[in-house]
Symmetry: C2
Subunit: 135 residues, 2 copies
């Protein structure tokens, strides 16, 4: 096969939903991150300050190494996260929010705040809907 070497797969994984329809509507870019399972939580954790790979892994219960790496790489690609490598033994890699990332995290936090405030209202609506639909 023509595959040159290793990281081809990873590079493909980095580009998830290139949904052209979103572009049409003016949506795009890092908004896609919101649809991912771990991005928002990683952002939240990093908002508290720089964090090493292992710390992040522990702070996101249930995340796999694969997804942690993928999530961080995508955030890094979007310019939200900075990656610092300390080439010691064992190695130490620290992640932190960039200015752009902090700005983004702030916006996202607002939305989370909103959903928390409306939580009861939404759950009530869901319960009503389900009650009427069932049976």
């Amino acid at each position: 096969m023509s595959a040159t070497h290793t990281d081809v797969r990873l590079r493909e994984d980095l580009l998830p939903c290139g949904s052209p329809a979103h572009e049409d509507c003016g949506l795009h870019l890092s908004l896609d991150r919101l649809g991912e399972r771990w991005s928002v939580m990683a952002l939240a954790q990093l908002s508290a300050g720089p964090c090493r790979y292992r710390e992040l892994e522990r702070s996101l219960p249930g995340i796999s190494q694969r997804m942690l790496t993928l999530t961080l790489r995508r955030l890094e690609r979007d310019g939200h996260v900075l990656r610092h490598v300390e080439a010691s033994i064992p190695p130490s890699v620290t992640y932190e929010l960039s200015d752009l990332g902090r700005s983004f995290a702030t916006q996202v936090a607002r939305l989370v705040e909103w959903s928390r405030a409306r939580k009861a209202e939404i759950e009530a609506a869901q319960a009503r809907f389900d009650a009427h639909a069932d049976r």
Copy 2:
């Protein structure tokens, strides 16, 4: 088979990502809608005012009837959208935002606004990342 009757499948489809990890972090509910392909665009369209099923379909180029229905049902379930049925022939169904939905749409619009403002910055970061990673 034991299948009683029709809409069982749809009811299952209505409940997508019950990601428990999101709950852990305080995230939940309608935030999940942001990860869906059409929800934000439907919300945007409905922000302009009430809209019939067919109009929505036309305003969201490329959407399938299945996804339009599913998207609207989930937004309705969350209490964001109200559904009015006019039992005429042919029937007429109109969708519109509730107060909750308008509030939600406003929040989302803010985020979209942010991403639009930062678009160039993000694309530059992506280009830099890709240039360094490739080759």
